[in-house]
Symmetry: D2
Subunit: 300 residues, 4 copies
């Protein structure tokens, strides 16, 4: 018999993720405060739950995909207090990107009631959610992550186990901080080359085959017109928005503050994304994060 999944948060990411579970044969009960999100989920084959409690009644697995830690804690611990209503042994997978400390609080509260909790933040964006090619970076007990794997495999292509509870969050923000660093660094290097007469496409090709090579250059060149099918070649529309990078860098900085880690390059990238976000009165936060290229001046 098909497993029943309670799914909280059916937005741009959660919606297609839940739809992929439906396709794989799961019975998915959708809960979201936004009626339109629920409607889309129902159209994809989910059933609508009238309340948080109704969603989880008899569910085998609970998945959440929420915008911040306050909402995750409210769902499981505080207002909705779902942990009180889940049977021991119910698996909880939280796919939200939130502070590791928040993930750990939720996991500890779950553990007290015999409810294993996996933090499984994703990367890959809306396109990855739709194509079921997301990466999940998991934190939690090994057996809980093992139980989560088959479900996650229907929604994504890579499933990593980073360590204990919260480790998924830590690994994700380390990765995204490093991504921001090499994206800004790539933008600077391209601009420096162009300012000195180089063709940005030629320079990109050289660095791709040299020690400067990195994901931003290889998969996501920030200079317009170098690569097809990247945000830089369509006016920085779509992709991973500046405001989401700002959020992840904020989590990285808060984590670094708490662990007394020095992250000078990460901190500078964070400052530059913050500066860029509202530059000159515009609001650039809705553009793709590779548009940081523009801060360095461009062709002129």
């Amino acid at each position: 018999m098909a497993q029943t999944v309670a799914f909280f948060g059916l937005g741009n990411m959660g919606g297609p993720m839940a739809a992929n579970l439906v396709k794989a044969g799961y019975a998915v009960r959708a809960f979201d405060p936004v009626p339109a999100s629920v409607a889309t989920a129902v159209a994809a084959g989910c059933s609508a739950a009238e309340s948080e409690a109704a969603a989880v009644a008899g569910a085998d697995v609970v998945i959440s995909m929420l915008p911040n830690g306050e909402l995750v804690e409210a769902l499981f611990l505080d207002q909705a207090g779902l942990f009180e209503q889940l049977a021991p042994g119910t698996l909880v997978i939280d796919c939200s990107t939130i502070a590791a400390a928040s993930s750990r609080r939720v996991a500890a509260a779950g553990a007290e009631r015999g409810i294993p909790v996996v933090d499984a933040p994703v990367s890959g964006g809306v396109a990855g959610a739709q194509a079921a090619t997301l990466s999940f970076i998991c934190g939690g007990e090994a057996d809980a992550v093992a139980r989560a794997r088959p479900l996650l495999a229907h929604m994504g292509a890579n499933i990593f186990h980073a360590g204990a509870s919260g480790a998924g969050q830590i690994a994700k923000i380390c990765n995204n901080m490093l991504l921001a660093v090499h994206m800004v660094g790539t933008a600077e290097a391209l601009q420096l080359g162009v300012d000195n007469g180089l063709d940005p496409k030629t320079l990109s090709e050289i660095m791709l085959k040299s020690s400067g090579c990195n994901w931003s250059l290889e998969k996501y060149n920030p200079w317009p017109g170098i690569m097809d099918n990247v945000p830089a070649s369509r006016g920085y529309q779509g992709g991973f928005m500046v405001r989401l990078m700002q959020k992840d860098l904020g989590l990285a900085m808060a984590t670094a503050l708490a662990s007394h880690s020095s992250t000078p390059m990460g901190a500078l990238a964070q400052s530059l994304y913050q500066l860029y976000g509202e530059l000159g009165g515009e609001d650039n936060t809705g553009l793709d994060f590779s548009s940081i290229q523009r801060i360095f001046g461009g062709e002129d």
Copy 2:
């Protein structure tokens, strides 16, 4: 009949490069102010030239591999004034990493006398010089670069044409600036993960398959013990020394100043490498550049 090559600068890099040309059948005349370097070159099959003038008499190609631009300009323009002694049409390939402005001065002076000059700084280090797997990043006229290609192919594996004279230097320092940025960024990200309980090997594996991926992580992991055969796993001995990265970052910064380019991440990396170099009274400049990891604290 074999082409005759005059080779200036037979040190750690130039020595094995010249030896590879000998193996390929070129007649190589070696000139170096250090007698031991000449002796090694002779042992590898070069002939020793008694003077700069003797080295170039009748040579088809002149190759230089010198530590800085002052020496390159002294060789071709000033003291030795080689350009006065070369027959028009002699090909000059300068493999030194120097300021683009210096390369352009040399190339312009060569052009006035009908002598094509290619700037062809290398990457790949001593190991690459020995194994003939260097990358050459060339600047100059297309036909001059085309003439240089067969010779360079005996000394390296990749030959890039970045653009006009000086473009090889620009491309190289853009690449190395970006390398420094993602090396420091990688070191920070690993430390942040470790400070928050992650295993650096697991975190490295996750980021390698994610958007944080970059050359430092993939080929040159700075955390001790993650990869075999990298400097981090042998006490940061060998590899690309901090002082050479300092030199390249210095060239990058001077270039950025001259072109009024803003390179905040590059400038921070430069400051950190400068700071690290003589940290706490030690002189870390002889260690591999991935040892910047140590500035962030390590396991404790």
Copy 3:
């Protein structure tokens, strides 16, 4: 009749502050979990309170001087729950340096019970606490600050009203972030001069009378031997410890993250103080914050 003050936190700062109130004629009831601190306070004329509740019974004013926001919230809101025991109208002055958000939570809870709360973080250090020359930077209602003024005037020389609740904390961390920025900047400028042959004393004198002038240069020169009676001239002992600057910069960064403010110079100063703190395995966090000068290399 003398006013009765309940004083929580009688450490290096709170101890001499309470003693100054005793000298001014107040009846001061001291509470601190550390017996030695209480003993010192009693020797200075305070009476020892057996419990938090006993300390505040019938008190006109409550003053707290605690190391962090968790303890402040525990005292007033959570564990000790003092607000339940205070008569409406009792004035609360919290002199701790904590997050503005924490100050606001305490103030809001006080307001609900008719208890005015002033956040009044101090600057001036232990010497200022002993000499009653502290600066208090206050946040809260104007009439509450007005009530606090006479007491504060016995413990300090400057009393500022920065704005509503939490504004004292904000103003303090803005000030201390700026202090860190010009301290590091001053250290860099002095080192740059010395590295280029200047005498640091002559350079200091010139910059003091020029546009580079700032408090670090004028009152607290970080180069050893330039000024008497500053930490730099006594091995960086005494003064404002690196770990306290790290704490304040941490609060500044957390504040900037929450308000989406870009503070690149502040973030870099924070990173450098973090880096410096445990440099090379040493723990520099107990030295005065002007010892950041040492990171730049010194005389050699």
Copy 4:
């Protein structure tokens, strides 16, 4: 009998400086390639020199105020070769802000001919030049500086002797680098306060009396409307232009590169001024340097 001064460079700065010498009774011969500048100088009482040689014939003192080191070296060493035409003992005072290395080349060439050269870069701007309140930061032999003092005293209010030849330049760029650091830091601190509800005027007053105090805050508040008579209160018109700060930071960075000094805060300030200069396609380089405040967002 009045001393005769040959004055090279009669622009916005040199013009009023020469005029002040005329007022003090000197016979001033003006040379400038721009006819309008000469005309203004003549109107102020200078005599026009037809050539560099004519200007210096029989002059007791030569003063130069030129935009860059290339022009200074051209005047004294290369094209005009003035040193060949000056009588031994003629005093040369170069008030241009140029690289210390350039000053040292000129001074060394002068010394060979018995001509003492003082580098005496100024601060104080056009207003200071007009009001004769400039600061001169001198490098050179003590007796040469002593000879220069009476002349400089007619053009300025402060005369510093920083050290040997070039030391004037070094001290000036150290000062201006520190100025840039605390200006940007002040702008960040004010913005952070405003973003968290503080009144920028109140915050300024508090920091002025606290350890954040610095020249930018005291004499040149970058937030519009806090101080009268500063560029921030007149749309950032007038004052010390961004492009001049960019020039001085460029000299500082080049100096730091040459002396292998780490200047992370200076380098970040340089990057931010570079970024700001042409932000969003505008050219902000003609505004006063305190307008860097705008990069941080302002009131909204």
